[in-house]
Symmetry: C2
Subunit: 233 residues, 2 copies
């Protein structure tokens, strides 16, 4: 394998649920680069020491002197720069702008809307050694207990659908967020929705929407790669 990818895993190491790691998976598939995913837990900061920080995705590019790169956006731009003979993830300013706007919108609006739906089920499936870290960091961020953040699935699914309105509008006029073929904007939102799909206690995405139909297409890409993801239900 030319690239090692560190991936956030649940108690079951086959469950790989980070939205940011899924973005990187799609970018590696887009470039046609072989990679091996390595399970990693929130509390294993030492394993990422060469990156100077403690979060995934992080990759090691064995064909480039075992170079480490971290952060889903930095990895995407790195892959385009160093593997420029392969299909570009982002070919121009327009694709960079829509990629970044979509990614940060998904991280804020979509993740914020999804968190109450998924947080209980997600916490229950974490590796026990990660649970105290997860509880403390999320309760600090939200100023409430995990139990107070959580909502009934029906309310959570409705809030998520509402938050997806910008993508619903875009996918009503274009097959992909990036245009006629998938690109970084699609991988960014798909990463978020795969995270929600894996961690939610119920099926979270309405299949009768433009987003739902696009999501099925995203699961089909690259020989149905994401469709094989192991779920927390």
């Amino acid at each position: 394998m030319s690239i090692t990818l560190y991936e956030l895993a649940a108690a079951d190491p086959a469950i790989r649920f980070s939205p940011y790691v899924w973005r990187t998976r799609f970018c590696l598939l887009h470039k046609g680069l072989a990679f091996k995913g390595v399970p990693w837990r929130f509390t294993e900061k030492d394993a990422l020491a060469p990156t100077g920080q403690g979060r995934v995705p992080a990759i090691v590019d064995h064909a480039r002197g075992d170079r480490w790169v971290h952060d889903s956006w930095q990895i995407a731009t790195y892959l385009d720069e160093t593997h420029s003979d392969r299909p570009a993830i982002m070919a121009n300013d327009a694709e960079r702008a829509s990629g970044r706007l979509t990614a940060v919108w998904a991280e804020t609006a979509v993740h914020g809307a999804a968190m109450p739906l998924i947080i209980g089920n997600l916490f229950a499936h974490l590796d026990p050694k990660d649970q105290p870290y997860f509880r403390q960091s999320r309760e600090e961020r939200f100023g409430r207990t995990l139990e107070q953040i959580a909502v009934e699935p029906k309310a959570g699914v409705a809030a998520l659908k509402n938050a997806l309105a910008p993508a619903e509008a875009a996918l009503a006029v274009s097959p992909f967020l990036s245009g006629s073929a998938p690109g970084y904007a699609d991988y960014a939102l798909a990463g978020s929705l795969i995270w929600i799909w894996i961690t939610a206690p119920v099926l979270p995405i309405d299949p009768e929407t433009a987003v739902g139909r696009w999501y099925e297409t995203m699961l089909d890409l690259y020989d149905g790669h994401a469709r094989k993801a192991k779920l927390m239900r």
Copy 2:
């Protein structure tokens, strides 16, 4: 003039503050089509009867048999279809997708964050005949009185800056949201920010940000067209 544009106006008819109308102004300038703006108030539904609804922007295309078109997105696609000899506002699926995503994100996240900042000043400058309609419709929508929705300017400016994070990220990697030149995604967000700039009680956009620098560029476009807007302060 080849096109008449109905525009939401304040008590002072020279103040034209609708974000959706500003999108259409930019689209008309992008196409190089001459137009004449006509002031319109919220309660003048009869003036728009040919559109079958009661909101602006609405245009009358005198070069096409006095055809009426309404809704900022429908007008943009109409202008591209019927004036295809002029520069395209959106040339492909990618531009349509990023245009729609940016527009609906701006309408929800950016407008939602800005409303508490602007609503008091905006209400005070409305035509008196529009004030009862505005109060009732907005209080129904938010479930609170205008006075309860309003916040101190400092808190409102901070909330707006926070809501603009997706655009800030995009404009850190690209000169325009549409890439190397302005397009519908830029006109969509600029329309929202011009609305806020006109109606806020203080300068609402931090000039030391990527969004602030891009906003100055948007005001400079088309001979500084938007820079001439009359403000509510």
